[in-house]
């Protein structure tokens, strides 16, 4: 078993933890970080580029090999498919948290290089002040009324969230798991050609300000955004009828982490009950959800706030191989097939 006290001492020695790509309203990371700081005083958390995509995180590790400064991330939180790739490139190091055994086996690397952290389903948020009727499925996005309205929540060349969105759209158009990526590209290519696609990274602000009245993103993000609007503007979350894709993210520690002990301590915190519930408070299903549920450790009001379970019934969990293949296709062909340029 891990000696948490010793780890804390060692981490305090390092004094700092560098995270990357953790928006504060993503899975309530803001509160999670605050909780970590409160529990382990003496460690400052240095947050890099909250808006980075998964690929950006991997590149940050690559670019900072040997850099012990505050630009080098210690830990990353990336889309599932990026985990094995990073392992293959030798960019991450293994670590098994104390609660390792309660993480489902299909969501972790057997050697402890990467391990799933939470999941959600791909959904759409609609600004009701601008659009009277919400789309109910992917196909609706091509309707005339959604001209210049649809945005992804990331750059499909770099962001796991955006890649999964494209993949989900492909599945919804009837393709099988292998053809979903191409179908998704075609779907967005058509959407772009029609003028419904907005080449802007959809965020809470762009949705509220009307730049992107519809944003496709993980349901937990959309819920957090909707909350932040406090009813102004009115926003509705739509889980599409077809192509409900669930996505798992994974945590990993950089192989070049300047503060390895702080990184390990961070992992311990995230995978503790407290950390897992922290994510859940941000509408993310933590990877130990079933374990926690079985232990009855989840407060009822938290369960009530979650999106209806029905949405998750249809959810498809693509395998790592499927995801890798899709990622490869989408990142490399997005430019040529969709090619969303400014005109």
């Amino acid at each position: 078993q891990v000696d948490l006290d010793a780890l804390y001492e060692a981490a305090k020695e390092e004094g700092q933890l560098t995270t990357i790509a953790l928006p504060h309203n993503w899975c309530a990371y803001g509160d999670v970080i605050a909780g970590f700081k409160a529990k382990y005083p003496g460690i400052t958390v240095n947050e890099l580029n909250p808006d980075a995509g998964s690929a950006d995180e991997i590149e940050a590790i690559k670019a900072n090999q040997g850099n012990m400064g505050p630009q080098a991330p210690d830990v990353i939180d990336v889309g599932l498919s990026f985990g094995p790739a990073a392992k293959a490139d030798g960019l991450i190091q293994p670590y098994k948290v104390s609660t390792w055994d309660t993480i489902p086996d299909d969501a972790k690397d057997a050697d402890g290089y990467w391990y799933g952290d939470y999941y959600g389903v791909m959904a759409m948020l609609v600004n009701k002040d601008i659009l009277d009727t919400s789309p109910t499925d992917w196909a609706d996005l091509a309707n005339d009324e959604y001209a210049n309205a649809v945005a992804l929540a990331g750059d499909p060349r770099a962001s796991a969230q955006a890649i999964q969105s494209v993949y989900a759209a492909g599945l919804a158009s009837g393709a099988d798991a292998d053809g979903a990526a191409e179908a998704g590209l075609k779907f967005f290519g058509d959407l772009n050609a029609k003028g419904n696609f907005v080449p802007v990274i959809g965020k809470a602000a762009s949705l509220a300000q009307g730049t992107t009245p519809i944003v496709v993103a993980w349901d937990y993000n959309l819920l957090a955004w909707r909350d932040s609007f406090e009813g102004n503007p009115l926003a509705e979350i739509v889980v599409p009828q077809n192509g409900v894709v669930a996505g798992v993210y994974v945590q990993a520690i950089s192989a070049y982490a300047p503060h390895p002990n702080a990184a390990k301590l961070w992992m311990e915190y995230l995978y503790s009950d407290e950390g897992q519930l922290g994510w859940l408070a941000g509408y993310c299903h933590p990877i130990r959800f079933n374990d926690l549920a079985a232990k009855g450790a989840i407060p009822q009001e938290m369960l009530d706030a979650l999106p209806p379970a029905a949405a998750y019934e249809k959810a498809v969990f693509p395998s790592i191989e499927q995801q890798n293949a899709a990622k490869e296709v989408i990142t490399s062909q997005w430019d040529s097939v969709v090619g969303a340029n400014v005109e």
Binding site: N46, N49, G69, A208
Partner: protein, 263 residues
């Protein structure tokens, strides 16, 4: 002549419309946070955000250091080049033109490659080092403005003769720069300083690429994630910049006047 004036007014009013409407619109937008009626909620939200305070004071601090470093580097250089080494002038002009021609993003790319922790001068090796690098980066960005301000200031006084007048009265170089040159170009120096400040406060690219918790990246982050606060922030930063510029004008009034009357 009348016609002349008419067109002048037309041009002026068109320009005024272009510049004023976005400000009005932004202000209006910033008031829309509460559904149905106008409020200053977005401003309250901004000011109560600890990140606003933290990033803003960080940027102010970096701004102050950038100004000091800029003055320390530029004033003696301009002075001695004017006085003794006019042949160096083209080099100075060239250096100070570079930041206008080479985009900031390219400079910072270069810094990251040159001064990363595996180089001989590992600025990015520590937070403090990165702060220093950021300061230098801002000095570089502001260099055209600082240089030109100081140079203009020195042009309005006869540096050579004043130096000689002080020298023959027994003053040494420190006394000359401290007691004669600097007081006389103070307004120019300050106007350069405020420009530097205005640049530093809003700067986004360098701070973001060096991953420092500055105001610019904070603005960007808020801009992506909040609906109404960005408009409030735009108004706030506009007022801040306006304040800095206003200071230049106010200080201009206290300038030691150099123009001589003739009999």
């Amino acid at each position: 002549m009348k016609q002349n004036r008419f067109w002048a007014w037309v041009v002026f009013l068109m320009g005024a419309a272009y510049f004023v409407v976005p400000l009005v619109a932004t202000f209006e937008f910033s008031l829309r946070m509460r559904r149905g009626y106008y409020s200053f909620d977005s401003y309250a939200s901004v000011f109560s955000d600890p990140n606003f305070q933290a990033t803003f004071s960080y940027s102010v601090m970096i701004g102050v250091f950038s100004i000091l470093v800029g003055i320390l580097i530029v004033v003696p250089a301009v002075y001695f080049v004017r006085l003794r080494m006019p042949w160096l002038r083209p080099f100075m002009e060239f250096f100070t033109l570079l930041p206008l021609i080479i985009p900031a993003i390219i400079l910072v790319y270069g810094y990251l490659r040159l001064y990363n922790s595996s180089s001989i001068i590992p600025f990015t090796g520590s937070a403090l080092g990165t702060d220093i690098l950021l300061t230098f980066a801002y000095v570089a960005l502001a260099l055209p403005y600082t240089y030109r301000a100081v140079d203009t200031g020195m042009r309005t006084i006869d540096v050579q003769t004043l130096t000689e007048a002080a020298q023959i009265a027994g003053a040494n170089t420190f006394q000359i720069i401290g007691q004669i040159i600097l007081p006389n170009i103070l307004v120019a120096v300050l106007s350069g300083a405020f420009l530097t400040f205005a640049i530093v406060i809003g700067e986004f690219v360098i701070a973001s690429l060096l991953n420092r918790p500055a105001f610019g990246p904070y603005l960007q982050n808020i801009g992506a994630n909040r609906a109404y606060e960005p408009a409030a922030l735009a108004i706030i930063s506009f007022i801040l910049t306006w304040g800095a510029m206003g200071m230049i004008n106010v200080l201009g009034r206290f300038a030691p006047r150099t123009s001589a009357r003739t009999d």
